[in-house]
Symmetry: C2
Subunit: 233 residues, 2 copies
């Protein structure tokens, strides 16, 4: 295995361990190169690889910083905004929060042991009275106990920054799986729509920089509100 990949993986580990805060620069390429005993050119190759993987951002004159996945991965990128909703963010509300042993499928995705508990959230996002997104969120309780306390007295517009500040969990990567399904009775009731109304179901697994699963989320968007863009090269 080439040196630059070894060094990349080591840096990835240190980033996963949250060695640097959001506003704190990593050591400069010179210092890192000296530390690892490699040439600066090789260190640049390591950092370039981390940039293309979306793990760090580099700013000339300032330094190298750990990237946050939050902005890129909002579920709202699946929601078509029309009319007055444009240029506005929907409100977020948590409708229920419990701890439980999750279904086997969820436990598998989160790599939980058979009797490990998880924190479950049901959260909706809406414009005025129109609900546009319903989300069922499962989090390993071991890492998210503080979140539970926090959410009892707060209702933040976005969760990922809270994962980081409260629970020291930094989300790096998301894997989305999209299908179309008719709404079951419970989900239809959330949207005040008829049962079997078609919706897009987004199943998302979130991973940290070490590749450990952090969150499993099943989201529903009524089909009429669904929109998604992608570029393939």
């Amino acid at each position: 295995m080439p040196r630059y990949l070894q060094v990349r993986d080591d840096l990835l580990q240190r980033i996963a361990l949250r060695s640097w805060a959001a506003d704190e620069a990593l050591p400069s390429e010179d210092k890192l190169a000296a530390e690892y005993g490699i040439a600066v050119g090789t260190m640049r190759k390591v950092l370039d690889a981390l940039v293309t993987d979306g793990v760090v951002d580099r700013v000339r004159g300032r330094g190298t910083f750990v990237a946050r996945a939050a902005e890129r991965s909002s579920m709202l990128r699946f929601v078509r905004m029309h009319g007055k909703a444009k240029n506005r963010l929907p409100t977020a509300r948590i409708r229920s929060m419990t701890t439980a042993i999750p279904p086997a499928e969820v436990a598998g995705k989160l790599k939980l042991k058979p009797r490990d508990k998880a924190l479950y959230l049901h959260r909706i996002r809406s414009f005025d009275d129109e609900i546009v997104l319903s989300e069922h969120i499962w989090l390993p309780l071991a890492r998210f106990r503080k979140l539970q306390k926090y959410l009892k007295s707060n209702s933040p517009p976005s969760l990922y920054p809270i994962y980081e500040t409260e629970c020291d969990v930094l989300v790096s990567r998301a894997i989305d799986d999209l299908t179309a399904k008719p709404l079951n009775r419970a989900n239809a009731a959330v949207f005040k729509l008829q049962t079997k109304t078609m919706a897009i179901c987004v199943e998302r697994l979130m991973l940290d920089h070490a590749g450990e699963p952090v969150e499993w989320r099943t989201s529903f968007v009524p089909a009429e509100r669904f929109q998604y863009s992608a570029e393939i090269r």
Copy 2:
């Protein structure tokens, strides 16, 4: 503008002009560097950029080759295969082919002048008797006259290789836009489904290596057959 970007853009032009065939290697990095009067290290940076943009593939010991977008961008990646359909490719059939002045919206996407004609294809893909994909394809007639002749006596499983061999058009990049829509009467009839059955509509614009629009395609997948995966970093 840095030298390596200038050289990259120049190479991009030459690739767009189809200077190298599918199985023909570009000149080696040494030769290209000499040709452009830059260092080999800089030429490597150019080629690395083209690799991450998906424009070329490099194979150690063999050379650098122009990449084909065809494999990555098949519409079938939106279609869920179940049961017997797995491990099989659906058949393709062209149900109609005409030349016409396209609707203003399509002409705009293809950057056609007001009275430019286009080649229109309606094509379906199916497993046995089950139709899984219906596609409405618009191509600038100026570049695709030979395709029209070709399709009168051939029914190829995939179109992009034909664009290249018959019309000298190499597809580089696709932009997809996904929404959910109820089928109108004509499209529902194609699938032998009821009008207003929900379907996923994929609008795709294909571009060549020069960034010129090459194809506009509107495809429908019945919602039950739709599936799509993406990774966000």
